[in-house]
């Protein structure tokens, strides 16, 4: 006699009705025994206790919450926001230096420079908002994101410098050819 598959016995033990399985179980002691095993396992699982938790667990949680809140107060928004803004602009200057952008070059960019700087300011506003909603422990993440975005701004400015230089060189060559 072929016995019932384990999955089918499990399903029957879970209460799923299967007429073929029922008729087989009525005449097969082996499968009836397996079904009993499944039922006992399910009962044992349902009655399995959650581990006891000793001591003043709740008091310890509340103490840790107090510590966390105290940490937030030691690193309040009034400190975090200016710091995030300041570090952003410092990062912009450093990135500008890394890409070889002279401060004087900004003057020649005109509307493009204004757009780039407006973008940088928008980024700063976004980071300021982020810093205000994230816990202080996420500050490193914010600074990392800030640096990444500022790298993009730096790269944009770098591209502007290159295109300005190329345009200037073309103008010089045109002037030479005319002369």
């Amino acid at each position: 006699m072929t016995h019932l598959a384990g999955d089918l016995l499990q399903a029957v033990a879970l209460g799923i009705d299967d007429p073929d399985a029922t008729s087989h179980l009525a005449q097969c002691e082996h499968c009836e025994g397996e079904l009993d095993t499944w039922r006992r396992l399910l009962a044992q699982l349902s009655g399995h206790p959650e581990p006891a938790i000793n001591g003043e667990f709740t008091a310890e949680v509340m103490a840790r919450i107090d510590d966390t809140l105290a940490g937030e107060e030691a690193w309040p928004l009034s400190t975090r926001v200016p710091l995030a803004l300041g570090s952003g602009f410092v990062a912009l200057v450093v990135i500008g230096a890394l890409f070889g952008i002279e401060p004087a070059a900004f003057a020649s960019f005109g509307a493009d420079a204004a757009r780039a700087l407006a973008g940088a300011v928008k980024l700063q506003v976004l980071f300021t908002k982020l810093v205000s909603v994230l816990p202080s422990e996420a500050s490193a993440l914010v600074v990392l994101g800030q640096l990444t975005c500022l790298l993009l701004v730096g790269w944009t400015l770098h591209s502007l410098v290159r295109s300005q230089s190329a345009a200037a060189e073309l103008e010089v060559e045109d002037a030479r050819s005319v002369a």
Binding site: T37, L42, S46, H48, F57
Partner: protein, 198 residues
């Protein structure tokens, strides 16, 4: 043999008031939520981490995270699944950090990872009592692959529905049901291999 009734869900009306109170800064309301869920969270942490001390520490961290984010909990919905989602993410992060620290565990399969976790029987015994079948079942649970163990614990020990578990672990209900089926089968095999007849 009749199955025992599943664990009763908490009184959601009362719980809504507690969540609202906690979101408004009522510490007593949050402490009541901690008392209500501490055993479930500790139980989940113990089964993830395998040792009572880190599990207790992780359970406390989970409640701190929940407190910080409590204003994002919907008071109209049951608090348990929301808390369990935080707990699960936190515990997985802790496991991941532990794997990174150990270096050699970064790409291990759940089976291998469980096999490398420290033996927990004496600690578990202290927490659960000494009934032989309880210990045998706990040991078998520890030997289950992590994803099977998680759904079996949430469903059978903590009374979460398949739908709730799907929401907590971010998987389709069909996957949860499949893992439950396979997890129970493996659990039965493990118990039988250990010479324990359920």
């Amino acid at each position: 043999m009749a199955l025992p009734p599943p664990a009763q869900p908490p009184d959601i009306t009362d719980e809504s008031a507690l969540v609202r109170g906690a979101a408004q800064g009522d510490r007593d309301a949050f402490a009541a939520l901690v008392r209500r869920y501490q055993r479930q969270i500790f139980g989940l942490a113990l089964r993830f981490l395998g040792n009572p001390d880190p599990a207790r520490d992780a359970a406390q961290e989970i409640f701190v995270k929940a407190f910080v984010a409590i204003d994002r909990a919907d008071p109209e919905r049951e608090f348990g699944p929301w808390l369990m989602t935080i707990a699960r993410n936190h515990l997985r992060d802790r496991l991941r950090r532990r794997r990174v620290r150990k270096g050699d565990l970064a790409d291990t399969e759940p089976d291998e990872l469980i096999a490398r976790l420290p033996t927990r029987t004496p600690d578990i015994e202290a927490s659960l009592g000494t009934r032989q079948e309880t210990l045998a079942l706990e040991q078998a649970l520890q030997e289950l692959p992590e994803h099977y163990r998680e759904v079996v614990v949430l469903h059978h020990l903590q009374g979460r529905s398949v739908k709730e578990i799907a929401g907590i672990i971010g998987r389709p209900e069909g996957t949860v049901m499949t893992w439950l089926f396979r997890g129970r089968s493996k659990l039965k095999d493990l118990l039988e291999a250990a010479g324990v007849r359920p």
